[in-house]
Amino acid sequence: MIRRSAFALVVVIALGVLTACGLLAPEASFTARHQELPAGRPICSTCHEKEQHNGAGKAYAAFDHTPTFSANHKVPALQDGATCAACHAPSFCSDCHTGKGIISPAVKLGNRPDRMSPHKAGYLTMHRIDGKIDPTGCFKCHGRANNGSCRACHRS
């Protein structure tokens, strides 16, 4: 079953690649690396005022690092990861998004209280309250991975 699925996947990918080569957009890719930026959260639209982002089909303002951008970075990160990669190394993301974490983001970033890092002080207590109110919030990070510690107590 696995081999059949894997074979089917390879065939689909191969056909897809062959077909897509003729369908690829002719525009040049987004820059691999943005020039050095000053410290602090960048507001892209400051320089790219009404410019459309190459490839993303939206204004640069959509990537302005406003306070709410941090809380809602999921959509641009998923759909336009290449834009993030122009400034952020993958390790920046893995400060929080670790498949199997060894210390919580709040501890790892204990010297950066300005960054949004989950599981701050006393979360062992708070998770019992947050989990009752909204277990789907826990599921995002711990539903499929990073739940070895959860399993120690939530066993049956």
Partner: protein, 494 residues
């Protein structure tokens, strides 16, 4: 040193239920040596490596159970190498190793290590096309996965985009084999794809699909009465409405066939998730955002590797409405007011409301923030929990979850020194809540002092003190040594 056999002598959940193993194990070796070998082997135009070493001291005594003194050593090592043979080929690696230097501090054992990600990426010069192979994260149709496999994406003519991935879900072995029964639900194969259409200046729509696992539950090594196979389809959109309003959202359906015999009246919906957000601005000073989320537990939790916690058998849904207003009150003063109403069918309603202010004084390299939030939650009336299933209609009274949260923090930089303070306080309305051990509050204060030795080398020490229901008095120290080296340009904080 060979790994010693796990000793389990305490009931589940007991802090003493700790795997006692030798701390120098293949966990360190299997992560760090490959990373270092690869770093030496690659011939790249630019190589950047980040090393973070943590020595963590904990005193978390649980009354009448543990003494609480622990020392942990943690090493993160990441490598980014670009220009491998070709300008477009790059390598990205991140792994970590952990060891207890004294008594065991974790349920999973006294040592561990893993590769968080490690992949080769090729970026094409056109169409934002790229392919990557190795271990990476991917998100499709509501799934967020670590995959050992391949993935690719490209922009197509006419504004279309396509992305796809396939491989095997990463197994994060945390416990010994006898304790990994839940991992049987994590399958052998995973693949997904998304096709999108972009309308320049107006937005984007997309459709995605996720298939997780190739075996039915009955053919698993540990046959299960519950079939947690995942097969999902999703639609997503982004619409830019004239006037600067930005609408994004997605709906995800659970398409897997199940014959687990679970009777859950009211949870027959195959819609796993709705998530919609609207945001916009009023002038240059005020930002608005609203969000609606609805999740059907049975469909949303399908495919979990931990069904004992995320129970796909739970009846009902979770819904939440969130509103946020951000005001740029002055040049360096920002105020965020937020409100969230949530509702979980088997539990009840909860309201979280509060505000946060952030203030910067660039001339003094000072940044500070204050926040206050109040959570008013219905006194819980919960179904009797029988493990994998709940008895419909049978309920017992539980306890109040309402609480107040206060936070204050500050950061000061005076090169080469840096100082930060962060304090968090919770006051609970109902100290009789069984999770609170009769305590009505908890707090923690973290102080950090850092010294930038050179552009690439930094040391910092954190000290935190607090009280909480779990450990009563808690003291923690952390020594942080960060070293960044290589041939690429440095970017602070990136």
């Amino acid at each position: 040193m060979e790994r010693e056999e796990t000793v389990m002598c305490a009931p589940p959940g007991h802090p003493e239920r700790i795997a006692l193993r030798g701390w120098v194990t293949p966990g360190w070796v299997r992560v760090l040596f490959p990373l270092m070998s690869l770093a030496g082997a690659v011939s790249a135009q630019e190589v950047t490596a980040q090393s973070s070493t943590f020595l963590r001291f904990l005193n978390e005594p649980v009354p009448r159970i543990t003494r609480g003194d622990q020392i942990q050593a943690i090493q993160f090592l990441g490598i980014d190498a670009t220009g491998l043979q070709s300008d477009n080929l790059s390598l990205h690696l991140m792994g970590w190793g952990f060891g207890d230097l004294g008594r065991a501090s974790r349920h999973e054992g006294t040592s561990d290590g893993d590769l968080s990600y490690g992949y080769l990426k090729y970026r094409f010069g056109k169409a934002n096309a790229e392919v990557q192979a190795g271990r990476f994260t991917v998100a499709q149709a509501g799934g967020f996965e670590w995959v050992d496999g391949v993935s690719g994406r490209a922009d197509l003519r006419g504004g279309f985009t396509v992305s796809a991935f396939g491989g095997r879900p990463v197994w994060f072995r945390g416990l010994g084999e006898p304790n990994q029964t839940d991992y049987q639900y994590q399958r052998d194969f995973i693949a997904g794809a998304r096709v999108g259409k972009r309308f320049t200046g107006f937005g984007e729509v997309g459709m995605s699909f996720l298939q997780d696992g190739s075996k039915p539950a009955s053919e698993l090594g540990l046959p299960s009465a519950y079939d947690y196979t995942r097969r999902r389809a999703g639609v997503d959109f982004r619409v830019l409405v004239p006037g600067g309003i930005d609408l994004t959202g997605r709906t995800v359906w659970d398409l897997a066939k199940r014959h687990d015999g679970v009777v859950n009246p009211g949870s027959d919906s195959r819609i796993a998730e709705h998530e919609y957000t609207a945001s916009g601005r009023i002038g240059s000073m005020v930002g608005l955002q609203g969000e609606y989320v609805a999740r059907n537990f049975r469909s949303y939790f399908a495919g979990t590797t931990l069904p004992t916690l995320f129970k796909p058998t739970e009846t009902g849904t979770f819904k939440a409405y969130t509103g946020k207003v951000t005001v740029e009150a002055a040049e360096n003063l920002q105020v965020l007011v937020d409100y969230r109403h949530s509702s979980r069918e088997v539990y009840g309603d909860a309201n979280r409301v509060g505000a946060e202010a952030r203030w910067k004084v660039p001339s003094r390299n000072l940044a500070t923030g204050f926040g206050v939030h109040r959570v008013s939650a219905a006194d819980a009336v919960l179904p009797i929990d029988t493990g994998l299933a709940s008895l419909p209609g049978t309920k017992v009274a539980a306890f109040g979850l309402s609480h107040l949260e206060l936070r204050a923090w500050g950061m000061l930089e005076k090169a080469p020194w840096s100082l930060s303070l962060d304090g968090l306080y919770h006051h609970f309305d109902d100290a009789k809540h069984p999770a609170l051990a009769g305590r009505s509050y908890e707090y923690e204060v973290i102080a950090s002092l850092g010294y930038q030795v050179s552009q690439a080398f930094r040391v910092a020490g954190d000290l935190s003190l607090g009280e909480n229901p779990m450990y009563r008095h808690e003291a923690k120290g952390l020594l942080r040594i960060e070293y960044r080296f290589g041939t690429a340009s440095k970017k602070e904080g990136k």
